[in-house]
Each structure stands twice: as structure tokens, then as C-alpha cells.
């Protein structure tokens, strides 16, 4: 019986955490705040603990040979936990009264538990060292999402979305599995080191088929072209907090999956798969931007915008490992904060009106602070300096340009204009359009106000004082 290494304590806590939350339901009635409190405390505790782990660059530390905790892993954990925490905060109100024409939701404890499971799945993906764990992580991250999408039993949109999601998701799983099987056949083993050795030794069609299927499978979760078709419907059908969690946690998981794969076992053939990545990135961000041009419903709009963001983030995968990973993690942080800020604002709107562009009219007159927060998040997503989004995108393009993909970078940068166009559409309806009388006024609870302010400051601060990023990513100086 040996002592548990400290660096996996957060993972263990996260593992037992959902059981505690759900279990606490046994001892209290369904109205009580206890599960919610426990959830907050637990997630914050994990976040703090994660920040205590020293960032060791390079191979990282191992736990029974196939659970690696390296700096990238730690930072991804932070992103995921942050996302979970914000998601939990966002979801609180939806269990008190309905929103956006949807009835109120129930069983907050289970809801939180599901989110926690998904988060743990993501963590498993970043710390896996063999394809089996890898696959399991991905599934653990995905399956709760199906459930969460359909959480609102009384809402048939949710159910339809969930149906589409799970059917397509299972197909994608099948693709991945198929890819994994060929990879296994090619390498003759599951452990990344074996695969790495085999790939380095030489390639064969088997490997390429595997790569193709793996990319297509993960392309579904990362909403790459043309696998993104589920996203708009699911994002619109799912409850708002679930949409937020989907757009951050599952994207983070997926990109982490790709990063681990490309910079891990497939590192020797990065040059050969660079064109594929570049094409995926370029087409995806273009299509995402085009789709978002003429939207009228907020969540669907955010779906397209997040498709485009996925395209942008793919650009980073072209760069060398250190730069690429830095870019991805930093961008995920920024993206998480900006996205959640947007979703909090939409949520506040949604509690009193339906979530469409039209219900933003005259926001700047009635509630300037909210309008400012909205503008901040939108400009940040559009990548306008000095907000965080710009520096995130700059990291991505920098990483892409390191290996000389100027064409792609130019294309992506020019697409920013397109993106700015539709983000401005939204800002317009909030700032320029005159308010019309029959919109119910907005009331912010203390918590909502606090979170919105906190997030806005975060967006501005991470961008405005970007040297914070150096301290966070101290492990990534090269």
C-alpha cells in the first residue's frame, strides 16, 4: 500500500465528486440548496488544488504508467473545471423557473453530476497514455452530454435535439472505433509509446485509414466541416446552460483529443497530415462564418460562431508542439470566458424574453452595463484587440505561421472580417435599434450581476494585461 502521488488528488476528487453530489440528494429534499453548495465548494476546491500543482514541462509525471499529468494536462484540467463551474452557475436559475419558452428543469444534483462526469471524461482524454483509456475518456465525456441535452423532459425541442445528437454521435463513435482498430492493427499495441515507435518506423495504408477515420470521428465532436450539421440544431434545442457546456467542455475535450494525438503518437507524421488539418481548418471557419451571417436566434447563432471558432483553433495544430499547445490552451481559456459571458447575458435575456436578436433591442438604453458586457464578449469573440479574443487568435495564427502556412493564416485572418460582420449585427441590435415597448424589462439577480461583471473584467484583463498569460503558462516558455 503506497501513498497516492499528490498530482492526481484533484482527479480523484473529481471522480468521487459527482457521486457525493448525487448522493447528497438521499439526505435532503429536492428543493434544498445543499447539492448546489457542495458542487460549488468541490469544483472551486479542485480548481485551487490544480493551481497548486507545479508545472513540469516535457514528459510530465506518470501514474501506473498510463495516466500522465503534464503541464498541458494541468492547464486543460483548469479549463475544464472552469467551464464546469461556470456551467453550474449558469444552470442554477433554470432550476428555479423556466426560460426561453421552455419549462423549468428538475434534479439539479444529477445535472451537476452529469456535468462533472463529462468534465472527468475530458480529463481522462488529456491524461490518457493508451488508446483504450483515450477512447473511454472520450465516451465518458460524450455520453453525459446526450443526457444533458435531453434533460428538459417536457421540452420536445430538447428531445429532438438529443435524438439527432445521439444518433450522429454514435456514428461518429463508430468511426473513431474503426480508426482505433486499424491503429491497433498497424501498431500491434495500445500504448502511445508503441504506436509512436511504429509510426516513426514507417507508415502504411492501414495507418492512413486509421488517421482518416479518427479525424472524421473527432471532427464530429469538434464540429468540423462537414460534420458540424448537428451543432446548430442541438445548440438550439438544448437548454441554454447545456449549450454553453457543450460549446466549451466538449470542444475542449475534442481539441485536447486531437492535440494529444497529433503531438503524441502521430507526431512523426505531422507534416503529412498538415494539409488535411489546414483544409479542415480553412473550410470549417469559412463555412461557420457564412452560416452565422443571417441568424435570428441567439443560440443557433452561437452554434455557428463556435463552429467557426473550431476552425480557428485547428490552425494551431499546424505548429510545433510547445507553441501549438500554448496557443490551444490559452485560446480555450479566452474562448471559455468570452463564450460564457455571452451565454450569461443571453441567459439573463432568456429569463424574461425569448432568446432572439429582436429581444436585444434597446438594451443599451434600458440596461447599459449589460449591453457593454455583451459588446465586450462579442468583440472578444471577433478577435478585436485589446480584448482577450485577439490575443487568443494571435497565438493560434502565430503557431500556424511558425511552420509557414501563410496562405491559411491569411485566409483565416481575412475571415475575421466576416466574423466581425455578424458579431456587429448582434451588437447593432443591442446598441442601435430602438427599444420597443412590449419587451418585458430585465431584472438581474445579485449572482448574475456579480458573474457578468467578473467575466467582463476577466475578458478585458486577460487581453489588456496579457502578460498574465506568461505567468499562467510559465511552463511553456521555449
Amino acid at each position: 500500500m503506497y501513498s497516492i502521488p499528490h498530482f492526481i488528488i484533484p482527479d480523484l476528487i473529481l471522480l468521487v465528486f459527482p457521486f457525493i453530489v448525487i448522493g447528497s440528494r438521499l439526505f435532503c429534499d429536492y428543493k434544498s440548496k445543499i447539492p448546489w453548495r457542495i458542487a460549488n465548494i468541490g469544483l472551486m476546491l479542485i480548481f485551487v488544488l490544480l493551481n497548486l500543482i507545479p508545472l513540469a514541462s516535457g514528459e510530465g509525471q506518470f501514474f501506473i504508467s498510463n495516466w500522465r499529468v503534464d503541464d498541458f494536462g494541468v492547464l486543460m484540467r483548469e479549463v475544464l473545471i472552469l467551464s464546469a463551474l461556470l456551467g453550474v452557475w449558469l444552470s442554477k436559475d433554470y432550476f428555479e423557473h423556466g426560460a426561453d419558452g421552455k419549462p423549468q428543469m428538475h434534479q439539479i444534483a444529477e445535472f451537476i453530476g452529469a456535468i462533472a462526469f463529462a468534465t472527468f471524461g475530458g480529463i481522462t482524454v488529456v491524461s490518457a497514455c493508451d488508446t483504450l483509456t483515450f477512447f473511454l475518456g472520450l465516451e465518458i465525456a460524450t455520453i453525459p452530454m446526450y443526457a444533458l441535452t435531453a434533460w428538459n423532459k417536457k421540452d420536445q425541442m430538447g428531445t429532438e435535439a438529443a435524438t439527432k445528437y445521439i444518433l450522429m454521435g454514435s456514428v461518429a463513435t463508430a468511426f473513431e472505433l474503426f480508426g482505433f482498430s486499424y491503429l491497433f492493427g498497424f501498431a500491434g499495441g495500445l500504448h502511445f509509446s508503441e504506436i509512436h515507435a511504429a509510426v516513426a518506423a514507417g507508415t502504411s495504408p492501414l495507418l492512413w485509414v486509421a488517421v482518416l477515420f479518427l479525424f472524421c470521428g473527432i471532427g464530429f465532436k469538434l464540429t468540423l466541416f462537414p460534420f458540424y450539421t448537428w451543432a446548430p440544431d442541438v445548440y438550439e434545442g438544448a437548454p441554454t446552460p447545456v449549450t454553453a457546456v457543450l460549446s466549451v467542455t466538449s470542444k475542449a475535450t475534442a481539441i485536447a483529443f486531437l492535440a494529444v494525438l497529433v503531438y503524441g503518437p502521430l507526431a512523426p507524421i505531422q507534416e503529412q497530415i498538415a494539409p488535411l488539418i489546414a483544409l479542415l481548418a480553412g473550410v470549417t471557419l469559412f463555412v461557420g462564418n457564412l452560416g452565422a451571417l443571417k441568424q435570428s436566434r441567439l443560440r443557433r447563432f452561437m452554434a455557428y460562431s463556435s463552429i467557426a471558432q473550431a476552425g480557428y483553433i485547428m490552425v494551431a495544430l499546424l505548429g510545433p508542439a510547445e507553441i501549438g499547445k500554448t496557443a490551444i490552451v490559452y485560446y480555450l481559456f479566452v474562448y471559455a470566458i468570452s463564450n460564457y459571458l455571452a451565454f450569461f447575458v443571453f441567459g439573463i435575456i432568456g429569463h424574461h424574453r425569448e432568446e432572439t436578436f429582436a429581444s436585444l433591442r434597446g438594451l443599451s438604453k434600458q440596461n447599459p452595463s449589460l449591453a457593454i458586457a455583451l459588446a465586450i464578449s462579442m468583440f472578444s469573440l471577433a478577435g478585436i484587440p485589446p480584448l482577450a479574443g485577439f490575443f487568443g487568435k494571435f497565438h493560434l495564427f502565430f503557431s500556424g505561421a511558425t511552420t509557414g502556412h501563410y496562405m491559411l493564416v491569411t485566409f483565416a485572418v481575412l475571415n475575421n472580417v466576416l466574423a466581425l460582420f455578424y458579431y456587429i449585427q448582434l451588437i447593432k441590435s443591442a446598441w442601435v435599434d430602438e427599444p420597443d415597448g412590449h419587451l418585458t424589462p430585465l431584472r438581474l439577480t445579485k449572482r448574475q450581476r456579480a458573474v457578468v461583471i467578473f467575466l467582463s473584467i476577466g475578458v478585458v484583463a486577460i487581453g489588456f494585461l496579457p502578460f498574465l498569460s506568461n505567468n499562467i503558462f510559465a511552463g511553456f516558455n521555449y
Binding site: I384, L387, I424, V432, F467
Partner: protein, 509 residues
């Protein structure tokens, strides 16, 4: 001490915004007082520093800043993730542009004293815009430069769309998106500058020490040059400026036309032409062809327009065309003329838009066919407008004449056919400029006055102050241009040295 002051130039506006943030929007007086004070303070600081730069000229400067002669040089590591630094400094050129900016911002704050809508947000946005412009002129690190350069897009749309007039949403979108298009063209080439040069650095000085590979320059230079030229409304990217200006509130028009449009030309000179001189030598002769539209056709279009702001916008287009003529001439005099024109046109167009805004506040129309004879009711504003017009048509005594004649003489030194033709056309088109300016002045100020204008009043003290100060600047530059061209020459010398040293390989355009 001076260095700290210099860095304060862009910090103070931000601080003002932060200070004003907690004050509730209902205390308009307090807010406006704060903003006015900070603008005035910055103006004061900038003037002092400009004088210092002039006084110090000739004395040796910071070695680290070579090849430039930079005062108040600061270099702090900023983003170790991609090795970006915080590098600022002042040579004659950007110091004068800073002074221009400070004047225009100050005037802008005063002009928009009683603007409709949420004043708190508006003034905050003006200060942000000021920050971005100051930053662009100060910074010598490409990342820093670009961050400040694109910041303006953030403020511009909100200011135009929320506080503008006419088709404000359309104009705001057009302006913001076109500018964003330009800046993204720039961003696309920045990475190449970083990696292709071999020195992994964003510092302009560092990059200027190497010669970038030719094949890279050949595609990067046009991209970057046009990217910058977009914000200086070089044909065919001029379409944003008339709609944008006509939609924008007065202060924003002043800042946009007076200062922001210079950022583009400044970038062309300081970054594009300076870092990629070989490609510049190959490409610029072709750029000259575009100027035929700006310089020759622009005034004609202005003749056909009835809206004061459209007329002024097209006149700005033609004046900025002259800047590019000076740049494309690639002679020291031409470059100096271009920089002179940047400064002179800044004051000039600021005065133009200021007076137009004041007149518009009273007549509630900008259609010159509806006005007439208002000189009788508002002689002061009328005289201000006429003076702006005279400065615009290059009347001796005003800065415009100095700049234009310098450009003409400088451009004529360039012995390439296209440049000669365009220079000759440009010289001949001073008549057209006179035509639209006089026609506007006559229609609006002279002749019979409609009865509805009987009740109009002349400018109040605040407005008179703005006009007087701007006119004084124009006259000051116009009457004693010696010192200004002296410090400009010093700061242009290294740029021209690099350009003339560039050996053009035998590559066709």
C-alpha cells in the same frame, strides 16, 4: 521624467475612462469636466514634449533605437509567449503626429459637448479612440502597433452607429468593416515579417537590420501597403470614407479624417516601405496609377455632391492622395512633403468637420442647396469655414500650401513617366479643388438667406475657442514651416537611407 510623461500620453485617456466608470451617467457636468481636463492635460504634455524633441534635435539619442533617432525610448519585454516587447519612442515625425492627435482629441471633446444620448459612454469611447491613436504613433513594436491599430475598430462602430446621424448603422458598418479588412491584411503579413526575416523579433529596428527574402516581399508588400492604404482611403478602398464620415458625429468625423486616416499613411511609411524597401521600389510606381482617381477625380466628385460632409470626405480623399504621391515619389522631399501633408491635413480637416458640425447643429441640414447667406447670422463660423476652405485649396500662409508645394516639387524629382504624369495632373487639379470649395462656401454662406435662418446664433465661446486654436495651428505651420521641416527631415533621413540603399533585383512588377 520625460520618458514617464511620454508613456503617460496613452495611459491618461485610459485612466480617465477608469476614473469615470463608477460615476453615474447622470452627473454629465462632472464627467465632461473630467474628460476635458484630461484632454487638455495630454495636449499640454504633448506640446511640451514636442518642444523638447525640437530642442534636443541634433543631440545623440538612445543607441538601442538605431537607426531611428528616438527620444524617450522605452523597451520592456511584454509577451514572452511570442517575444513581443513594449517599445515606444519619439522622433520628429511621430511626435508631430501625436501633437496633431492631441489637438484634434481636445477639439473633439469640446465640440461634442452637448451630444445626444449617453454621454458617459460616448466620451469614454472617444478616450479609447485617443488611446489607440496615440499608441499607434508611439509604438515601434509590431504587435503593440497592431494592437493599438485595430483597437479603433472597436470604438468606431459604436460611436457612429449610436451617436451618428443619417444612415448611421450602414455608415458605421461600412467604415468599421473596411478598416478591419485593411488591418487583417496587415496582420496576415506581420507573421511573415517575424519568421522570414530570420531575426525572431517584432521590433521595427531589429527587422530593419535584415533584408527580407524577395519572394516574400513581393507578395507581402502589396498586401501590407494596401492594408494600410485602406484606412487612408486610397482608391479603390476609399468607399468607406464618404458614407462613414457623413454618418459619424462631429467629433468622430474629426478624429477619423483628421487622425485615423493618417495612421494608414504613417504605417505605409514607417512599416511597409521601411521594412520592405526593395518591393516598395518595384510596386510603388504602380500605386501611383491609383492616385489618378484620388487626386484628379476626387475633386470632381466633390463638385457633384450637395452634402457638406460628402464634399469634405472627397476633399480628404484627394488630399490623402497627395500624401501617397509624396510617398510614392521615393525622394526625401517627397517623403517630407507627405509627412507635412499628414499633419497639415489633420488640422485642416479637423477644422472643416468642426465648423460643419457646428453649422449643422444650428441649421439641422447639411445640404448646401438648402442653405444660403448664413454668413450674416454666424459670421464667426462662416469665417472659420472659409479659412478651412482656403487652407484646403492650398492658399499660401496656411499649412496646406507648404505641404502641397513640397509634395509637388518632391514628386517631380522622381523621373519615372507615370509619376511625372500624375504629378502634372495633380498640380493642374488645384483648380478643381478651388471650384468645389468656393462653390460650397458661396452656396452656403453667401447669397440670399432663407427666412427660416433668421433665428440662428453665432458660435459660443467654446466653439470659437476650438476654431481659433485650429486656425492658429494651420497658420503657425504655414508661416514658419522651417523648424517643422527640419525635425521632419531628421526623422525621415534613416527611412530614406534604408530605401535608397535597397538594391532592386531584376524582378518585373
Amino acid at each position: 521624467m520625460e520618458t514617464i510623461l511620454f508613456n503617460l500620453i496613452w495611459v491618461i485617456p485610459l485612466l480617465t475612462v477608469l476614473v469615470c466608470a463608477p460615476i453615474s451617467a447622470s452627473h454629465e457636468k462632472v464627467l465632461k469636466a473630467l474628460h476635458a481636463t484630461s484632454a487638455t492635460f495630454v495636449l499640454f504634455v504633448v506640446c511640451v514634449l514636442t518642444y523638447r524633441v525640437y530642442a534636443l534635435s541634433g543631440t545623440p539619442t538612445d543607441e538601442a533605437a538605431a537607426p531611428f533617432l528616438l527620444r524617450f525610448f522605452t523597451d520592456i519585454p511584454w509577451l514572452s509567449a511570442f517575444n513581443a516587447h513594449y517599445i515606444v519612442g519619439a522622433d520628429g515625425l511621430n511626435m508631430l503626429l501625436l501633437a496633431l492627435t492631441a489637438f484634434i482629441v481636445w477639439a473633439g471633446v469640446l465640440v461634442s459637448w452637448n451630444i445626444k444620448g449617453n454621454q458617459k459612454v460616448f466620451f469614454a469611447l472617444i478616450q479609447l479612440l485617443a488611446t489607440s491613436v496615440y499608441g499607434v504613433y508611439m509604438s515601434f513594436d509590431l504587435v503593440l502597433f497592431f494592437v493599438f491599430y485595430e483597437m479603433e475598430a472597436l470604438c468606431m462602430y459604436l460611436m457612429i452607429a449610436c451617436y451618428g446621424s443619417g444612415r448611421r448603422d450602414y455608415g458605421g458598418k461600412k467604415l468599421t468593416l473596411t478598416l478591419a479588412f485593411g488591418s487583417s491584411m496587415i496582420l496576415a503579413t506581420l507573421f511573415g515579417l517575424y519568421f522570414e526575416g530570420g531575426v525572431h523579433s517584432w521590433s521595427i529596428m531589429e527587422l530593419s537590420k535584415v533584408t527580407l527574402p524577395m519572394d516574400f516581399q513581393m507578395w507581402a508588400f502589396p498586401l501590407m501597403f494596401m492594408g494600410f492604404a485602406v484606412s487612408s482611403s486610397l482608391f479603390p478602398f476609399h468607399f468607406w470614407s464618404p458614407d462613414g464620415h457623413s454618418a459619424a458625429p462631429t467629433a468622430v468625423s474629426m478624429l477619423a479624417a483628421g487622425v485615423m486616416m493618417k495612421m494608414g499613411a504613417y504605417g505605409c511609411l514607417r512599416v511597409a516601405m521601411f521594412l520592405m524597401p526593395e518591393a516598395a521600389k518595384i510596386w510603388l510606381p504602380y500605386v501611383v496609377a491609383l492616385l489618378i482617381f484620388n487626386v484628379v477625380l476626387g475633386p470632381f466628385i466633390a463638385i457633384r455632391h450637395k452634402d457638406l460632409k460628402y464634399i469634405t470626405a472627397y476633399s480628404s480623399i484627394s488630399h490623402l492622395g497627395l500624401i501617397f504621391l509624396g510617398l510614392a515619389a521615393l525622394t526625401p522631399v517627397g517623403l517630407r512633403g507627405a509627412s507635412l501633408q499628414m499633419i497639415s491635413h489633420g488640422f485642416l480637416t479637423g477644422l472643416f468637420f468642426a465648423t460643419i458640425g457646428m453649422i449643422y447643429e444650428r441649421t439641422h441640414t447639411r445640404d448646401i442647396t438648402e442653405m444660403g447667406g448664413i454668413m450674416r447670422k454666424m459670421p464667426f463660423l462662416g469665417v472659420g469655414f472659409v479659412l478651412a476652405g482656403f487652407a484646403g485649396l492650398g492658399l499660401p500662409g496656411f499649412s496646406g500650401f507648404i505641404a502641397e508645394s513640397t509634395i509637388f516639387i518632391g514628386a517631380f524629382q522622381q523621373d519615372s513617366t507615370l509619376t511625372r504624369v500624375v504629378t502634372i495632373l495633380a498640380i493642374l487639379s488645384i483648380t478643381t479643388t478651388a471650384v468645389y470649395i468656393l462653390q460650397t462656401a458661396n452656396r452656403m454662406l453667401h447669397g440670399n438667406m432663407p427666412a427660416k435662418y433668421e433665428a440662428l446664433t453665432d458660435g459660443c465661446l467654446r466653439e470659437k475657442l476650438v476654431i481659433v486654436v485650429l486656425v492658429a495651428c494651420l497658420l503657425f505651420i504655414g508661416i514658419c514651416p522651417g523648424w517643422i521641416s527640419e525635425i521632419l527631415d531628421q526623422s525621415i533621413a534613416p527611412i530614406f537611407a534604408k530605401i535608397s540603399a535597397a538594391a532592386v533585383p531584376a524582378v518585373g512588377g
